[in-house]
């Protein structure tokens, strides 16, 4: 609305009309109150915004329209503003005649006579729409935050799955590699055994022909026969590894298997000045395993431990129950019987530790180890669905952990 404001002072009446028209046409409710809060003027817009005519508000108790929870705050703000003679803004909920709560932004201004407050002009602006929009926005924000949280969680679980998948993939590659090595080994073993036979029989034949020659010839031939025997040991190890012999599983007390293996290696321990300390738990549940093959595993582990301590030392053998943990199914750790064999040697360098299960890997001097011992052990362990882990102890020495899931876990 364009309002022409002439240069010269307009007549009083015209000015009154101008002000009235401004007040009548404003979309806010304008209330004039006395310093003690009594309304003396309410603009006509109260009809549209609150459903009450100005007279109704002036005659009744205006404060009754304010929400119970906002009333004390409104009064306090009014008094503080009167004391300070300043302008304050406050948000209030007022009830429309139709029962709906409207939210108003209320600004008060004091009309002063010198420093004495005479009247306060309160302007109530209906901000319900804006507040509703804000509320919706906030809700949307909260939802968005929740979704983001869900998304982050999903992403984390996806990453975990991915890592597990990757680990499984690596294990699979490993398994495939071991299998192909096994197949290769069987082929190689066959191809090597035939020429070994030729050499052995050739030596036998020559031995008879050269019966009367000097001792050196016999010595050379004996060395050659021994070499054939050694080569054959390697090949046999390969075949043991490559032929996945079926297991004869029975319900066995793991402690018995360990005690048997210790008995089998007793002489070796005595010779190597190795002391065995046992701490075998009495309450272990039985495990399903092939007694003979598992004895082989423990004998091998014990001999390796003894060889790790050329100056002698101590092997600690411990068995215990592992109740398992059942957190997320992805990291489920079923109950198991665990055996630990710890030696007092120097441990194994990390780089070597990664390779100990590889076929033909050995730290022993050439000719003394086939490098197939641990490979065969792992093969047997895998056939059992058990797990073997080698780790260096913090104080030196190597800890071999064997873990057998117990029958209750399998069911």
């Amino acid at each position: 609305v364009e309002v022409a404001v002439p240069d010269e002072k307009p007549p009083l009446l015209a000015r009154d009309e101008l002000y009235r028209s401004i007040i009548d046409n404003t979309r806010d409710v304008i209330v004039v109150v006395t310093p003690d809060g009594k309304p003396v003027y309410v603009s006509p817009s109260s009809q549209a915004l609150l459903g009450y005519a100005p007279e109704e508000i002036l005659d009744g108790k205006a404060l009754d329209l304010v929400h119970d929870d906002d009333r004390a705050r409104a009064v306090a703000a009014f008094r503080a503003s009167r004391r300070a003679r300043d302008t304050r803004s406050i948000e209030l909920r007022c009830r429309h005649r139709d029962g709906e709560w409207r939210i108003f932004d209320c600004v008060g201004n004091w009309i002063l006579d010198g420093t004495i407050p005479q009247r306060a002009v309160l302007v109530f602006r209906d901000i319900s729409k804006r507040k509703r929009a804000e509320h919706k926005l906030q809700q949307a924000n909260t939802q968005l935050e929740n979704r983001e949280r869900d998304l982050v969680a999903a992403l984390a679980s996806l990453r975990l799955s991915h890592e597990q998948l990757q680990a499984a993939h690596l294990r699979l590659i490993d398994a495939a590699r071991m299998e192909s090595v096994g197949r290769l080994a069987a082929g190689v073993a066959h191809e090597v055994k035939n020429p070994l036979t030729v050499i052995l029989m050739g030596l036998e034949y020559l031995g008879k022909r050269l019966r009367d020659t000097d001792a050196d010839v016999h010595e050379v031939m004996t060395d050659m026969e021994e070499a054939v025997a050694r080569a054959n040991t390697v090949v046999r190890g390969l075949l043991d590894f490559s032929t996945p012999n079926s297991l004869e599983l029975e319900s066995v007390a793991l402690n018995e298997v360990i005690e048997k293996a210790i008995a089998l290696t007793k002489h070796e321990f005595a010779r190597a000045k190795v002391v065995v300390e046992c701490d075998l738990a009495a309450d272990l549940p039985p495990v399903r395993l092939d007694r003979g093959k598992m004895e082989q595993v423990f004998v091998n582990v014990f001999l390796n431990a003894a060889q790790a301590m050329p100056e002698g030392g101590t092997i600690r053998v411990r068995t215990r129950r592992d109740a398992g943990t059942a957190t997320a199914p992805a990291v489920a750790n079923p109950p198991a019987v665990v055996a630990e064999v710890v030696d007092s040697g120097d441990g194994i360098p990390a780089a070597t530790l990664e390779r100990v299960f590889d076929p033909f890997f050995t730290t022993k001097p050439a000719g003394e180890g086939t490098g197939l011992g641990l490979t065969v052990i792992r093969r047997i362990i895998e056939l059992h669905g058990a797990a073997i882990r080698l780790a260096n102890e913090p104080g030196g020495g190597l800890c071999v952990t064997l873990r057998f899931e117990t029958a209750e876990a399998a069911s």
Binding site: K193, L196, M201, G202, Y205
Partner: protein, 132 residues
């Protein structure tokens, strides 16, 4: 003795050892098929048989031998790289057969021959008894 093995060097050496060391009459064949034909013609007292041969596996040779009435009872010694422990006689789970793992000495082979020929002679007599 009929010796069937595709490892030519080994058959030659085993023949030499068996002939010189044990006085056996040895015939060599280096394939399963040729071994079967030779068995029909040569009628050996004992057959030394390799398992893994290119043309025919030793087990198949054995099946065909057993299907031939004239050769059904000829003792067979498997000489094979498939068995794990070297030199020892092993029960290979087939009647009238034992196994020797390669690498083996001629002495092991001769011991095995002696043991199966002992069995075969008693069986042979039992057979004759049945006929009469």
């Amino acid at each position: 003795v009929l010796l069937v093995d595709d490892e030519v060097g080994m058959t030659r050496l085993l023949k030499l050892n068996l002939e010189e060391g044990g006085g056996y009459d040895v015939r060599i064949e280096n394939s399963g098929r040729a071994g079967l034909e030779a068995a029909r013609e040569f009628r050996p007292d004992v057959i030394l048989l390799d398992v893994i041969m290119p043309d025919m596996r030793g087990t198949e040779v054995l099946e065909r031998l057993r299907a031939d009435p004239d050769l059904a009872h000829t003792p067979v010694i498997f000489l094979t790289a498939v068995l794990p422990a070297p030199g020892t006689n092993a029960d290979v789970g087939m009647p009238g057969c034992i196994g020797i793992a390669k690498p083996a000495r001629a002495a092991d082979v001769m011991a095995a021959i002696r043991s199966v020929l002992g069995d075969a002679s008693t069986r042979g007599e039992a057979r004759r008894d049945e006929r009469t």
